[in-house]
Amino acid sequence: MSAPAIEFTGVSRWYGDTVSLADVSFTADAGVVGLLGHNGAGKSTTLKLCAGFSTPSTGTVRIYGDNPRRNPDVYRRVGIVPDHSPPWPFLTAREVVELSARLHKVPDYREAAARAIATVELEPAADRRVAGFSHGMRQRVKLAQAIAHEPDLLLLDEPLNGLDPTQREHVIALLIRLGEQGRTVVVSSHVLHEVERMAPRVLVLVNGHLVAEGSTAGIRQLISERPRRVLVTADNARALARELMSSAAVDAVRISDGAIEVETSEPSQLSRELPAAAGRTQSLLRLIRPVGDDLESVYTYLHDRARGQAR
């Protein structure tokens, strides 16, 4: 049996007192894998370790069963799109991609570079210097240099950053296609809906911990199942709160400064029952607003849930 494209075993990475990655284990093989998490969650560290740009403090990282830091030959099968490193500004896009293909030992590197440039739709600007490129164009140069040697494993750190909507669609379609071809494509992002469009499998990182792993639909389900809090302002708040407490959709009710904070695991049911309860108590609803529904709260919930602290 051949070794998986990526194999993390008990990997931790810390810088001084800061833990960037804590005891992370996973494997990745053919298909698109989304690496999801907020800024500073450990996504870039994970990709750096995959790419061999960093060494784990503890644990092991294997790429096709090998350590890329010890055996650079592994890079024949790996393409990398770093987040914060634009290619050499004094080279043209074509020179960058040809250089990459050549260094990856592609026999007909000019032809390979032309193909990659066409794939990312950069042909009109191919002979212009990277220095004059927009952020989106640089992203496409980075992508072209990463795919020119047709790698089996593609590591992309926030590849959609700086792209306009049309380019995003194009890149997403390209990554899906590469995944369907049997390549392993690891894409980091902090935007869930972006990841779920291209990645059937998602790894969620929060504060360096791998807090959820599985199908995109499964992660979406986990997120939708988390308790929600809704702030309700109404005229007859106390009566409405009492009425809501009898509802099966409501887990808890608190009143503070005349506003009702409702905790529910069934937000859809609550949205149906709340107007009815208001009608029964003759309360005029003035405001209904979700609390803590931002992405950060979702990650925090997944983190707490993974550590058995979520309510």
């Binding site: 740009f53 650079p72 790996v78 990398i80 490193s85 050499w88 004094f90």
Partner: protein, 239 residues
């Protein structure tokens, strides 16, 4: 596959603004020789003047500084802007990458140093100029600058302040300690470079070693520094 990396690095080094500053540095011995040629006192020894320029200014300061800056920039600039990732993420052997980088830094150094030394020689020596008087110092500069380039490339992968450490080594160790203590000169790159100068020009102090031992020491510095740099490149934390 050294050639594309060599070309890329050479282009990057020669295009940087620092090269203009270094060009000013290499003009110093030329300007001094020009002033001497224009206002030469009657009966002065042109060989003595040229010997002083080469041994006190060119080898220990100008060549050392230029090679240090180019050697550090070969890897240092790419580490800073992250472009080094595009080289490291390739199946190229690390030693080959280092050799290409050091060769590019050396070439860039020679582009500035060789014309400067030759011009200084022609202007300073005047009618006394000969292939021997200019050629041997040139060999010393060429070999010493290679050793400086290799050592500073290694330094740029080992520390975050390679230029500061390099300048301290050049000014404090080579320029001060090694000039007073003969044993300290054995750890001075410029002292071994000066051994070639001494073959053609009069020296105030005996050379630290003969031509062959000096060449061997400089070669050993290059090999060890390149090996160390390749090792560091495989282990260093990249951006």
């Amino acid at each position: 596959m050294i050639l594309p990396v060599y070309r890329l690095t050479l282009r990057a080094l020669l295009l940087q603004r620092r090269t203009i500053m270094l060009a000013v540095v290499v003009l110093a011995p030329v300007a001094t020789s020009l002033i001497y040629a224009l206002a030469r006192p009657g009966g002065s020894d042109t060989v003595d003047f040229y010997s002083g320029i080469v041994q006190k200014l060119f080898v220990p300061a100008v060549a050392a500084l230029v090679a240090l800056v180019f050697g550090v920039s070969a890897f240092g600039d790419e580490r800073e802007d992250g472009t080094i990732l595009y080289l490291v993420a390739t199946p190229q052997p690390r030693l080959e990458l280092v050799v290409a980088k050091v060769a590019a830094a050396w070439t860039a150094s020679l582009v500035l140093l060789v014309p400067s030394l030759v011009l200084s020689g022609l202007l300073g020596l005047g009618s006394a100029a000969s292939l021997r008087l200019i050629g041997w110092p040139l060999v010393g500069v060429v070999l010493a600058s290679l050793a400086y380039c290799a050592a500073s490339s290694w330094l740029s992968l080992k520390t975050r302040r390679p230029v500061v450490i390099g300048v301290i080594y050049i000014l404090l160790w080579e320029g001060s300690v090694a000039t007073y203590a003969a044993s300290a000169a054995k750890l001075s790159i410029s002292a071994y470079g000066s051994a070639f100068v001494a073959h053609a020009l009069p020296q105030s102090a005996p050379p630290v070693a003969g031509l062959v031992p000096s060449a061997l020491v400089l070669a050993a510095v290059v090999v060890l520094a390149a090996w160390g740099a390749a090792r560091s490149l495989a282990r260093t934390e990249l951006p």
